[in-house]
């Protein structure tokens, strides 16, 4: 039954162009309501437990989230959260809500507060991994360095587990860059090998390189340079390549072209709003 429900939902979403999903929202909403009713009726008939119904809502929500259909994913997460008589810990559902908030450019604080409220109300014995994830999101929503948000013990837990260690390091690099503490960002970056990293990580490293290098020592090529040279047309559509051009111009004494910076701002706004800190660092 669960399988059918998910198939139905995925079928619904397929027919829409996911990028223009809003145009079919009413249709999808009706379809979801209709099938949800049927599924619940069938589950009731089979005497499904509250945990099973909960699991179905979570699966449906995860499915929606996988298609980036956040509006519908939220509905199902909240249905799962509001369901009474469930024996499992629901903390993880709040992480999904925070995650979606952040991806949509929201602060995520409201969802985080809901998590804290839930955890206070529902005590669970072992929340080790849940706590690690909570530490991670606590840092992200505060937009501060991990050392400014987490206690020493919490930091040690993160370091020991390793799962969130590097992602939090990236958070710290971004915070340093946005504060123009380029030397500190460089210290963290120097522990990493960036040569074959994705371009959106390389470009952060390049920005830090340009901002920290001695005027007399500009011999090393920027990491973004080979791709920039090979794909000259990509800067019209890629914020990393537009920034690469700006950095190359600055490096060779041409200075900023205001029109390039304006275009960069537009590209970041449209395609990568979470990378706005790069703009702040340029100014």
């Amino acid at each position: 039954m669960k399988k059918t429900f998910l198939l139905l939902l995925s079928a619904i979403l397929f027919s829409s162009s996911a990028l223009a999903i809003s145009a079919k929202q009413a249709l999808i909403q009706n379809a979801i309501n209709k099938h949800e009713k049927n599924i619940l009726a069938a589950m009731k008939k089979k005497n499904a437990s509250q945990d099973e119904i909960f699991e179905t809502y979570v699966l449906a929500a995860n499915e929606m989230k996988a298609y980036s259909a956040f509006k519908f994913a939220r509905q199902f997460y909240y249905k799962a959260i509001d369901l009474d008589g469930v024996t499992v810990d629901k903390s993880r559902l709040f992480f999904s809500l925070i995650n979606m908030d952040l991806l949509e450019g929201k602060s995520g604080k409201d969802s985080y507060d809901e998590l804290i409220h839930y955890q206070k109300k529902h005590k669970v014995k072992d929340r080790k991994f849940v706590n690690l994830t909570a530490h991670y999101y606590k840092v992200l929503i505060n937009q501060k360095l991990s050392s400014e948000v987490l206690s020493k013990t919490e930091l040690q837990e993160i370091e020991k587990d390793f799962t969130y260690f590097t992602p939090l390091k990236w958070n710290d690099i971004q915070i340093h860059v946005s504060r123009k503490d380029f030397k500190k960002a460089l210290d963290l970056l120097s522990t990493m090998d960036m040569n074959r990293a994705p371009i959106n990580q390389k470009i952060i490293s390049d920005l830090v390189t340009v901002k920290t290098e001695e005027k007399s020592n500009k011999t090393n090529p920027l990491l973004c340079e080979p791709q920039f040279k090979k794909y000259p047309g990509s800067q019209s559509a890629s914020y990393t390549m537009k920034l690469c051009k700006i950095l190359l111009d600055e490096r060779f004494g041409k200075g900023f072209n205001p029109s390039d910076v304006e275009k960069l701002a537009k590209l970041i706004e449209q395609k990568a709003p979470t990378q706005k800190f790069l703009l702040d660092a340029l100014k």
């Binding site: 139905l8 995925s10 079928a11 590097t166 522990t191 074959r196 990580q201 791709q227 914020y239 390549m241």
Partner: protein, 597 residues
Amino acid sequence: MKNLNVFILVLLGLVFISCEDGTGQNGYIYPNNEYQTTDQLQYGAKTNECYRARYALENNPEANVEQLICERDENGNITKKRKVTYITRDESTLRTITNFATSFLNKDKETREKEGGEGCKCEPMGESCAPKSCTCSEICPATAEILKSRQSYIRPTAENSMFYNNSSSHNDTAYETYPLSGGYCSGHVRQRQKFTYLADFQPDLRSTPKMKVGDETWKKYTKAEIDGVVQQRKTVFHGFKDFTDLKEKDPELGDYLKSQLGVEKLEDIEKNPHMSGYRYKKKGDTYWSLLNDIEFKNPDKEKIPADTAYEPYSGKRIPPMHEEAEYREFMERQVQLVSRYSQPAVIPGFSNLLELSADPQYDEIIGSNAAIDWKHYAELDDDMARKGTRIVEDKGHDKPMTKKQIEDMMKTVKERMPEFDPSKSKEEWNKGGPWETMPLSFRAKNKDATAGTQHLYHAVEVWAWKKLPDGKEWICIADPNSPPGGNDDCNVRFVIDPNNEAEPITYSEWPNRTIGKMMLEPSAEGQNGRYMIQLAHACRHKNKNNFYMGCDAKGKDDVNCGDKDYESIDVDELERDANERIERQRRKLEEAPGEES
């Protein structure tokens, strides 16, 4: 042209093209204009692939039926025509049909494909030789069979890999303090999987603008293609036969070519091409091997006609590559459909993932979505693994797995992943499936207690397994930390040695670390199922008017699937429905068999 020929076929009357692979049986005609071949009656609809090819004209139930018996090789080429059987009332019509059908089948494969599909094949996600010659459940099964179409993408060859890594330095020194530059390993695994399952790379699907040799459009187009040579993607030039000819025809473009490729590379291409008609093939000059396809069309023409390509799912026009802004906008949508929205999409103009992800615009998209996926799946697996074991949280997970745990894991690996056969070529390998890969998380610990980070966690992708004569087993791995091509041939692998209790599992990439608990990520089941269903829907949408006996009938006859009533689709029911239809046909035939000549 394709539509015109199909239209002619339809006008000509009922043409029943069937290729027979050894039995020499005849076709039958049914009063309700649905057709069945005898082997289907005998073996059911899912056997005898060649017999499934058929063409029926719907509007003429009383019309003539022609059956051509032929043998084909694996590529669908006719090797032998064995006999022609007619059921007819009108000799003149028959002759016309026969002539046309014979000439159709006598044409070379390329022409036939243009006109009607891939010959007598009903492959999942494939093409059939004429519209309505394959059933929905043959071309678009909502089962794991549809993943067969992904066979060539599964193996992590250089071409099937990302241009970049999650990290490149994990083994540069014995121990690193913090070895990862990426940190989003499971996200990178998911991204390669998405392109493995959902991306339909079609390097030849491209638009050519109307242009005249020497005009501005031609110059712009040619410059964009020269850029393509540098970028090592498939390129198609028009209006000259080779680069020497180009330099003579337009010195300005000749200079551009020289400046972009460099004198040395240009000379190399000019002097040492592996020619095949007007086609060069040359090894790329980067450290991983990538063929660069350069094609020269219309070498002697002055006027090049427009040839507009359309995206097969949405029907949208694909802008020519030299219209860079429009083309990039279009491509961004296609890449995001796969990378972010988990939807199948055609990736026109590119041959493979390596080519695509080398372009910084798409590198940027895939890289950021890897971070997003990492977050999604970190949560998802926490959820899905509740009933099992979450390996990152419990104590003792740095310790080696027990024999029972290894056996349980290998059982799933063998059920869901193919066996690796090094004796077979990349094209031949794994034709029989299963066509799945799965993410695998594991813990490890440095053997040297004084070295760097002690506890490590990593996610990789399992794509095959192999049993060795000495009882050891391999799990073949695509590691997001390895460079393109570094994962092929199962040279990145876990080795399981059941006789070594202290260290039953070792990892080729981490020789100085003890491998702890491993887990095939539970969310992969749902994820792979989702990709399968998405492929089936995309296939049904694309072929909506092309099925023999319609598709999602759901009690109605001949309802085209793909764009109607999506919320009512239940794939299990569709399968049942299709089987019932076939059974009905079988009963009808038993009651009143058709004429046989």
